[in-house]
């Protein structure tokens, strides 16, 4: 009996610690961020993989606030976009092959944020519908050109408005959601907010350089 208890306990311990491996911390996932500590970030025009032609322009209006709130100095997008446009660089796809280091001299950027819009859709089904925004983020160093941070997030808002017997409450929520259909801002906002919880906070954030052990949502981390 004694001979098998120890192996069982060891196996259980391995099993349990095996489960814990999936929940990594910010510092474990993104060590370079804590070494380089980029302060200024250039957000370049988004890469559009969605079916909505206006998605990149609309998305560009949603990123300054949350990225600044995450503690970074976001180089004013209205200014940088105009400079990029003058160089003929109006679309995200054109920027992929440019070494990030070029943006250090041109704009004084410590890092570049690339955003790929995977989905920016309103989907209609027979009995309802949903609004989907899906975005993939990559932040690269302008010192080394290496990836410092990455994240992927999707939000689906079900606008079916089925009457589940909630009465007045259900009707009010349906009305609010119908309004949301005309405005992607709340949805894009939530996508940004959730994603930016996974970034090592920048110098202006209260938790800057103190958030190393914050855990990341395991399923959506992109190293």
């Amino acid at each position: 009996m004694k001979n098998i208890i120890l192996p069982i306990l060891i196996s259980l311990n391995l099993l349990v610690s095996g489960c814990a491996v999936n929940t990594i911390s910010k510092a474990e996932a993104f060590p370079q961020m804590y070494i380089e500590k980029p302060a200024s970030v250039l957000v370049v025009p988004s890469i559009n993989h969605s079916t909505a032609a206006d998605a990149p322009i609309l998305y560009s209006s949603t990123i300054n606030e949350p990225l600044s709130n995450a503690g970074f100095y976001v180089l004013p997008i209205e200014v940088t976009n105009r400079f990029l446009l003058n160089e003929g660089l109006s679309e995200g796809e054109m920027l992929i092959d440019i070494p990030p280091q070029k943006f250090a001299d041109a704009f004084g950027a410590d890092a570049v944020l690339y955003v790929a819009i995977e989905k920016w859709d309103t989907n209609y089904y027979i009995l309802g519908g949903n609004v989907t925004v899906a975005v993939e983020f990559t932040m690269k160093s302008t010192k080394t050109g290496e990836k410092l941070w990455g994240y992927k997030n999707q939000l689906v808002l079900d606008t079916s408005g089925n009457d589940n017997g909630g009465g007045l409450l259900a009707k009010l929520i349906t009305a609010a959601l119908t309004t949301a259909l005309q405005d992607y801002v709340p949805i894009a906002r939530n996508v940004n907010l959730i994603a930016l919880q996974a970034i090592p906070f920048g110098k202006y954030h209260k938790m800057h350089n103190k958030d190393q052990s914050m855990k990341l949502p395991p399923s959506k981390v992109k190293k």
Binding site: E65, L168, Y204
Partner: protein, 118 residues
């Protein structure tokens, strides 16, 4: 019961409208909405609404001893430049640079791109 639900919902809805200061000590007001409208429906009306929002954010930030958020001054500079007021534009770009030294390289470029009005 209905009244209770309405009251709870109202509180939920209105709490979103209350002035919020972020973890980076910034106040944004309605910035994302007015900027979105500028992109969604470009023109005089949306520009004006966004301009007013930008100015309001500066007022409230100053009144509460907060830094003006990144880009607020610079966006006013861009709007001024589009109106043909290069001096005002340069002044706003300088304010952006003074608030955020990380923006110096960019703002210097923006200012040097601005021929001053004679």
């Amino acid at each position: 019961m209905k009244t209770t639900i309405i009251i709870i919902l109202s509180l939920f809805l209105f709490s979103g409208c209350a002035a919020r200061i972020s973890q980076s000590n910034l106040y944004w007001g309605n910035y994302s909405h007015t900027l979105y409208n500028v992109k969604k429906e470009p023109g005089e009306k949306s520009n004006k609404a966004h301009q007013e929002e930008l100015l309001s954010i500066i007022d409230k930030s100053t009144a509460n001893n907060l830094r003006v958020p990144p880009g607020i001054y610079a966006e006013l500079g861009v709007l001024a430049k589009e109106r043909g007021d290069n001096n005002a534009a340069s002044n706003y770009f300088r304010l952006e640079q003074n608030t955020y030294s990380e923006g110096s390289v960019l703002m210097k470029r923006a200012i040097s791109n601005n021929p001053s009005d004679s």
